[in-house]
C-alpha cells in the first residue's frame, strides 16, 4: 500500500484528538503535560508531511521552531510544577483548590 499525504493527515489528526482528550480527561498534571506534547507532535507530523508533499522547506523550518519552543516550555513548566509540588505535595489537578477553578 502506498502511503499518501492523506495518511499522514489522518495520523496527525488522530494524535491531535488523543492529545486534546488527554488534556480534558486526565487529572495528573504530568500526564496533561504529556498530552500537550502529543498535540505539538501532531502539529509537527502535519507540517513535515505537508512540506514533503508541497516540496517546500518552510514547514520543516517551522518544525524546528516548534521543537525548540516545546523544549523551552518543558523547562519552564517543570520548574513551575516543582514549585507547586513543594507547597502542595501533589500533582493532581483536582487538588488545585486554593482558588475556584
Amino acid at each position: 500500500m502506498e502511503i499518501t499525504p492523506a495518511h499522514y493527515a489522518l495520523l496527525s489528526a488522530a494524535l491531535f484528538i488523543i492529545g486534546v482528550v488527554g488534556v480534558l480527561v486526565r487529572r495528573n498534571i504530568i500526564i496533561i503535560f504529556m498530552s500537550i506534547e502529543l498535540i505539538l507532535n501532531a502539529v509537527n507530523i502535519n507540517l513535515v508531511a505537508n512540506a514533503r508533499h508541497l516540496e517546500n522547506l518552510v514547514g520543516q523550518v517551522f518544525v524546528v521552531f516548534v521543537i525548540a519552543v516545546a523544549a523551552a516550555e518543558a523547562a519552564v513548566g517543570l520548574g513551575i510544577l516543582l514549585a507547586f509540588f513543594r507547597n502542595k505535595e501533589t500533582v493532581n489537578i483536582d487538588e488545585m483548590n486554593v482558588m475556584r477553578w
Binding site: 508541497l54 517546500n56 513548566g77 514549585a83
Partner: protein
C-alpha cells in the same frame, strides 16, 4: 551578514535589539551589583524609554523588513507604543510591591522586558513562524512571572493553570496554522491571502479558522476560552496581572488582526461570525460574572473579559473605522486598567494582601487621593461620560452601527449599562462604607505617584480630546487595510 539580510533590516529591528540588550544588561547588573534595586529599576525604565523613542520614529512608515518576516508600519508602531507604555507603567508600580513580597528584582525586570520583546514581535510579525515565536517569548516569560511568588500557593496554582492552558491553546493554534500551511504552502500572511484569493472555502480551511480563532481566543481570554483568566489574575503578583491584562491582551489583538484581516480575508464571513458570537458571549458572561465577585482582582479579571467582548466588535466590523475605534479603545483601556491595578498594587502592605473589595472600605477618609483616582478609573471602565472610557465606547459602538451591526451595538450598550453596577459598587465601598480601617496606612511612593499620574492624565485627556489618538489609530488601521489590498510575493 546572513544571506538576504541587509543593514537596513538591523535598523528596523533596532528597538527590539535595544530592548534585548537592556534586558541582558539588567541580568548582568543584578549579579554584579546585588541589592541595588533603584539602579536596576532605572536601567529597565531607561531601556524602555529609549526603545519608545526609537519606535515612535517608525510611525508613518510602511515597509516589510527581514525578507517579508516583519512589517515596520504604523499599525506595528501603534501597538508597540501601547505595549511599551504598559511595560513602563508596570515597572513604575512594581518596586514597593516587590519589596513587600521579598522578590529579587533583577530577574523580575528582566522577564518583564523579555515579555515586551515578544509582544513587539507579535505586533510587527507578518509571517506565522515569527508571530508564533513572538507569542511564545511573551507566554514563557509570563509563565515564570505569574509563579514568581514561590512560597505562595495561590501564585503556584495560578502559574500551573496558566502554563497548562497556555500550552494547550498553543497546540490548538499551531494545529490550525499547520492546516493553513498545508492548504496554501506558505507561512507569509500576504502569501496566504494571495493563495486563497478566488478559491472556494474548503472544510479544512473553516476548521483552521476555528482552531486559530480558538487559540487566539485563549490568549485574549474571550469566553468560552476564559477559564484561566480569573484564577491567574487573582494568583499572580498584582503588577504582573496588570501587565498581563493590558500588554499581553494588546499584543494578542495585534496578532489576531494581522492573521485574520491580512492573512484570511477570503474567509472573512466565517471568522466574522465566529468573533460575533465570541464578542456577544464574552461581554455578557464577563459582566454577569463580575457582578458577584468579592475579590477585586477577580472582579477586574471578569471586567477585562467583558472589555475583550467590546474590543472584538472592531474585529467583527473589520472596516477601517471599526479597527481604528478598536485601537483607540485599546489606548484608553491601557490607562484606565493599569491605573486601577496600580491602586490594587498600592493596597498591598506588609500586614495585608488588600485585594478584597472590603479592604477598600473607608479609603476616601484614609487616602482621598487614591480613592479619587480609583473612583475615576472605575467610572472610566464603566463608560460614564466625562471619562476616556465613554469616548472609546462611543467610537466603538458608533463604528458597529455605521457598519450595520445594530444588534451588536444594542447588546454592547446594554452590557455597559449592566457593568456600571459593579464599578459603582467599588466607589460605594470607598466612600460610604466606613468600617474600621484594616492594615497599616497606604503609602504611595514617588514611582507609584508617577504611574498613577500618567494613568490619570491619560484617562482625563483622552476623555476630553480623543481626536489626537483617533487620528493616529486611523493611520494605523489604514496600513493594516493597505496590506490586504496590495499583492505581495509568496513567502519562500
Amino acid at each position: 551578514m546572513p544571506a538576504g539580510f541587509s543593514a537596513a533590516d538591523f535598523l528596523y529591528i533596532l528597538p527590539e535589539l535595544v530592548l534585548i540588550g537592556g534586558a541582558m544588561l539588567l541580568l548582568s547588573l543584578s549579579v554584579l551589583v546585588p541589592r541595588r534595586d533603584g539602579l536596576l529599576l532605572w536601567t529597565a525604565l531607561a531601556t524602555v524609554a529609549v526603545t519608545l523613542v526609537l519606535v515612535v520614529r517608525f510611525f508613518g512608515l510602511d515597509v516589510t523588513a527581514a525578507r517579508g518576516l516583519l512589517a515596520i508600519d504604523s499599525f506595528a508602531a501603534f501597538f508597540k507604543v501601547i505595549v511599551l507604555l504598559s511595560a513602563a507603567l508596570t515597572l513604575l508600580m512594581s518596586a514597593p510591591y516587590l519589596r513587600v513580597e521579598g522578590i529579587r528584582v533583577g530577574e523580575y525586570y528582566f522577564l518583564i522586558l523579555c515579555a515586551t520583546v515578544g509582544m513587539m514581535f507579535m505586533a510587527s510579525g507578518v509571517e506565522l513562524i515569527t508571530l508564533f515565536i513572538g507569542l511564545e517569548t511573551m507566554a514563557v516569560s509570563f509563565y515564570v512571572l505569574v509563579g514568581f511568588l514561590k512560597p505562595n500557593p495561590r501564585s503556584n496554582e495560578a502559574a500551573v493553570k496558566y502554563f497548562l492552558l497556555g500550552g494547550f491553546s498553543l497546540g490548538i493554534l499551531l494545529y490550525g496554522m499547520s492546516l493553513i500551511y498545508g492548504v496554501t504552502g506558505t507561512t507569509s500572511l500576504a502569501g496566504i491571502a494571495a493563495a486563497l484569493r478566488g478559491q472556494d472555502t474548503s472544510l479544512v480551511l473553516v476548521l483552521a479558522v476555528i482552531l486559530v480563532g480558538a487559540g487566539m481566543g485563549f490568549k485574549i481570554a474571550a469566553v468560552p476560552f476564559h477559564m484561566w483568566a480569573p484564577d491567574v489574575y487573582e494568583g499572580a503578583p498584582t503588577p504582573v496581572t496588570a501587565f498581563l491584562s493590558v500588554g499581553s491582551k494588546a499584543a494578542s489583538f495585534a496578532m489576531l488582526l494581522r492573521i485574520f484581516v491580512v492573512g484570511l480575508p477570503a474567509l472573512a464571513q466565517e471568522w466574522s461570525l465566529l468573533f460575533y458570537v465570541l464578542a456577544v458571549i464574552s461581554m455578557t458572561v464577563g459582566n454577569i460574572a463580575a457582578l458577584t465577585q468579592s475579590n477585586l482582582k477577580r472582579m477586574l479579571a471578569y471586567s477585562s473579559i467583558a472589555h475583550v467582548g467590546y474590543l472584538l466588535i472592531g474585529v467583527v466590523v473589520r472596516t477601517e473605522r471599526g479597527v481604528a475605534a478598536m485601537l483607540l479603545y485599546l489606548g484608553v483601556y491601557l490607562f484606565m486598567q493599569l491605573g486601577a491595578f496600580a491602586i490594587v498594587t498600592a493596597q498591598r502592605r506588609s500586614d495585608i494582601i488588600g485585594d478584597e473589595l472590603k479592604d477598600l472600605s473607608g479609603l476616601s477618609k484614609r487616602n482621598p487621593l487614591a480613592a479619587f483616582a480609583m473612583g475615576f478609573f472605575m467610572l472610566s471602565l464603566g463608560g460614564i461620560p466625562p471619562t476616556a472610557g465613554f469616548m472609546g465606547k462611543m467610537w466603538l459602538f458608533g463604528a458597529a452601527i455605521d457598519a450595520g451591526f445594530i444588534w451588536l451595538a444594542v447588546i454592547a450598550v446594554a452590557n455597559s449599562a449592566l457593568s456600571i453596577y459593579y464599578y459603582i459598587r467599588v466607589v460605594v465601598f470607598m466612600w460610604i462604607n466606613q468600617e474600621e480601617p484594616v492594615g497599616s496606612p497606604i503609602v504611595i511612593g514617588p514611582a507609584m505617584k508617577v504611574a498613577l499620574g500618567v494613568a490619570l492624565l491619560g484617562t482625563v485627556v483622552l476623555g476630553i480630546y480623543p481626536q489626537f489618538l483617533f487620528e493616529q489609530a486611523e493611520v494605523a488601521a489604514r496600513t493594516l487595510q493597505g496590506i490586504t489590498a496590495a499583492t505581495v510575493v509568496g513567502g519562500q
